[in-house]
């Protein structure tokens, strides 16, 4: 059972949730709620935004200011929310397809702007809600309902994408490391004062991805994630060949002296008012 301070953050009247039994996404939601509760952020000052897909149903279950937007557009909505009220703590959750396919442009530009939003990419390597179509993170060769002969597209490395686009905090964990998820999320939420934080949490979809790829039980996926996760420090000592198929977890970017967008915009206001 969740802690009392976590339970307080749940909108139980909107439950049961839509996630399949055994889904990885609940672990992410719980980690986000523990992080928010530990950081003692006033409930009224929390905004949870999302796009469309399984992951994006999360805000409905959280008792905060919650914004379920359109497919791919959550970060653009959240940008407006943050600019209008920089005091809000915004956790923007999205899926791999939502965030890096249809929402890819908003994703890279939110990174570039370095706006104070914590973006959580819940990467389950598939479009789950629509029935298991290949996403930009479906591994090459994996099967999907739109890749019946194996996916042919190369995948995105979401963390490298975020780093390249200018995000000032970038980290990855998997749902097989719930405590690490929580720790990273806490840092990423605190980083909002410095700018845009990206946390990729590798989740899984046993229903849509697993059953086509010999991981149909939730535990098959946990074990897969556990067995294939490599801490960044160790990964730094490994060869590309050794790292093939591995998921590198840990913190990749943390620029402590980064300057957040709404703060920089306040300087625009000051300049405009002086002119």
């Amino acid at each position: 059972m969740p802690r009392e301070d976590v339970k307080k953050l749940l909108r139980t009247k909107f439950m049961p949730h839509i996630w399949c039994p055994g889904c990885g996404h609940g672990i992410i939601m719980h980690a986000i709620l523990r992080a928010l509760a530990d950081l003692k952020i006033p409930q009224d000052q929390i905004c949870i935004s999302s796009g469309i897909g399984c992951s994006s149903r999360m805000p409905g279950y959280i008792d905060a200011c919650t914004l379920h937007t359109a497919h791919g557009r959550s970060l653009a909505f959240a940008t407006g929310v943050k600019m209008a009220n920089p005091g809000l703590t915004i956790v923007n959750v999205m899926g791999d397809g939502d965030g890096t396919a249809i929402g890819g442009n908003h994703f890279i530009h939110a990174c570039r702007r370095n706006i104070g939003i914590t973006a959580v990419v819940m990467n389950n390597n598939i479009y789950g809600m629509t029935g298991g179509q290949a996403s930009p993170t479906t591994p090459e060769g994996a099967f999907a309902s739109t890749a019946p002969y194996g996916a042919v597209d190369p995948t995105f490395d979401i963390c490298k994408l975020a780093e390249g686009a200018g995000a000032t905090f970038v980290a990855r964990a998997t749902v097989a490391q719930p405590a690490m998820c929580e720790q990273i999320l806490k840092k990423a939420i605190l980083h909002q004062k410095k700018g845009f934080a990206v946390v990729e949490i590798v989740s899984f979809c046993h229903t849509q991805f697993g059953r086509k790829n010999k991981r149909s039980r939730p535990m098959d996926n946990f074990n897969f994630l556990k067995d294939n996760s490599v801490m960044k420090a160790k990964a730094d000592t490994m060869t590309a060949e050794e790292l093939k198929g591995k998921i590198i977890i840990g913190e990749f970017v943390n620029i402590e002296d980064a300057r957040e967008y709404t703060e920089r915009y306040d300087e625009v206001i000051a300049r405009a008012q002086k002119a």
Binding site: R11, K13, F14, Q43, D44, Q45, C47, S49, P59, G60, D63, A64, C65, T66, L67, H68, T69, A70, R73, A76, F77, A78, T79, G80, V81, K82, M83, A84, N85, G87, L88, N105, H106, I108, H109, Y265, V268, I269, R271, A272, Q273, A275
Partner: protein
């Protein structure tokens, strides 16, 4: 002393927005509306407002909706292709009931079409562009003065009805410069959205008042609520229940329909004894008025009817006038969009003449004089 300026239409739209209390603009550059965002980038920070140039048209309207949810009066602007891109999120703002103002400075299409040429191609796009049904409020200014005044009104309507309101200028109105008398602050009523009157614990975010419009809290002001583009119940939570769907789907149409008479605006000239009427809007109405005034000097019984709200369309008023005139001429810079509404209202009571120009040029007064002479 009244302040008199010589402004471009796009600047008047931006300054009208600021006067209405707009404090956020999210947009993307596009001809012929870009000057609106340029002016906003200069004016908003002076007032402590926020401007953001987004990565694309969709981002522009998304940020605008987000800022409105967080409590600021918010605006975006664009033109044909950009409005096409914004359509999904216009639908979002209709269903989630988020007040925003969208300026659409119309240019020729389809697609990239005629970026620098005038058109009235978006009349139907404004009404039917997004999927699903909703009430629509769209204005067509025909002077620089009106660009300013209508934008103030558009914000008032957006705030009152909790939905997008469109300001449908066209390339000529947007780019033309003429005299404008800046109204003293306080000249116009400024409407702000209804706030909840109950405490946060008792707040049901989409429970409408008797006017079919629910009060709106802002994110961060103590009320926790859920916003979604899914069809939702009074709690703002997605529903698949037919009765709840029915209630929501009909309410967002009815809330505009029932106040139609408060919203509809039009302007008539020389209508008392008119036998021929020109119905036109936006830049075309300027040529039409010139034509009518000249022909009146020759004794031709011709009048002008100008819809200021394209949506809701002044159909009752057109129906009335169709009982007393012989001919209605509808010149438009499209292949015939508003004329369909005119014909629907007229219902065969008089003759309706379609006049359409889609070569990127404006109807000149001579053209309209010749249309009138054909039937007068």
């Amino acid at each position: 002393m009244a302040q008199v300026e010589f402004w471009q239409g796009n600047k008047a739209i931006a300054m009208g927005a600021v006067a209405a209390g707009c404090r956020f603009f999210g947009g993307y550059p596009i001809t012929p509306s870009t000057e609106i965002m340029e002016v906003m980038s200069e004016e908003l920070p002076r007032l402590g407002g926020k401007f953001v140039q987004m990565e694309d048209e969709i981002g522009g309207i998304a940020a605008t909706i987000g800022a409105s949810i967080a409590g600021l009066k918010s605006m975006t602007g664009s033109s044909g292709p950009g409005i096409s891109l914004k359509q999904e999120l216009l639908g979002y703002a209709y269903i989630a009931e988020i007040p925003i103002v969208v300026a659409d400075v119309q240019r020729g299409g389809p697609s990239t079409g005629l970026p620098t040429k005038v058109s009235q191609a978006d009349v139907m796009q404004a009404k039917w562009g997004t999927h699903g049904d909703h009430g629509t409020i769209a204005y067509a200014p025909s002077s620089i003065q009106e660009c300013y005044e209508i934008t103030v009104k558009a914000f008032n309507m957006a705030e009152r009805f909790r939905q997008p309101v469109l300001v449908m200028a066209d390339e000529i109105i947007g780019h033309m410069r003429e005299k404008i008398v800046i109204p003293e602050p306080g000249t116009y009523e400024i409407v702000d959205r209804k706030k909840p009157t109950v405490c946060p614990e008792e707040f049901i975010p989409y429970k409408a008042d008797d006017d079919d419009i629910p009060p709106m809290a802002a994110f961060g002001d103590g009320y926790r609520w859920h916003v979604t583009g899914l069809t939702s119940n009074d709690w703002g939570f997605p529903t698949n229940e037919a009765d709840e769907i029915d209630k929501k789907a009909n309410r967002i149409i009815r809330k505009v329909d029932r106040f139609r008479d408060d919203i509809v605006e039009f302007k008539e000239e020389s209508m008392d004894d008119a036998e021929v009427v020109v119905v036109s809007y936006g830049s075309v109405s300027r040529s039409a008025l010139r034509a009518i005034r000249e022909l009146r000097l020759e004794g031709v019984k011709v009048g002008h009817f100008r819809p200021i709200t394209l949506w809701p369309f002044p159909d009752k008023e057109i129906a009335e006038l169709s009982k007393r005139v012989k001919h209605i001429i509808v010149p438009e810079l499209n292949a015939g969009q508003m004329v369909n509404e005119v014909e629907r209202a007229v219902a065969g009571r008089c003759e309706v003449h379609r006049k359409n120009l889609i070569n990127g040029e404006l109807y000149k007064p001579d053209h309209i004089m010749s249309f009138i002479k054909e039937v007068a």
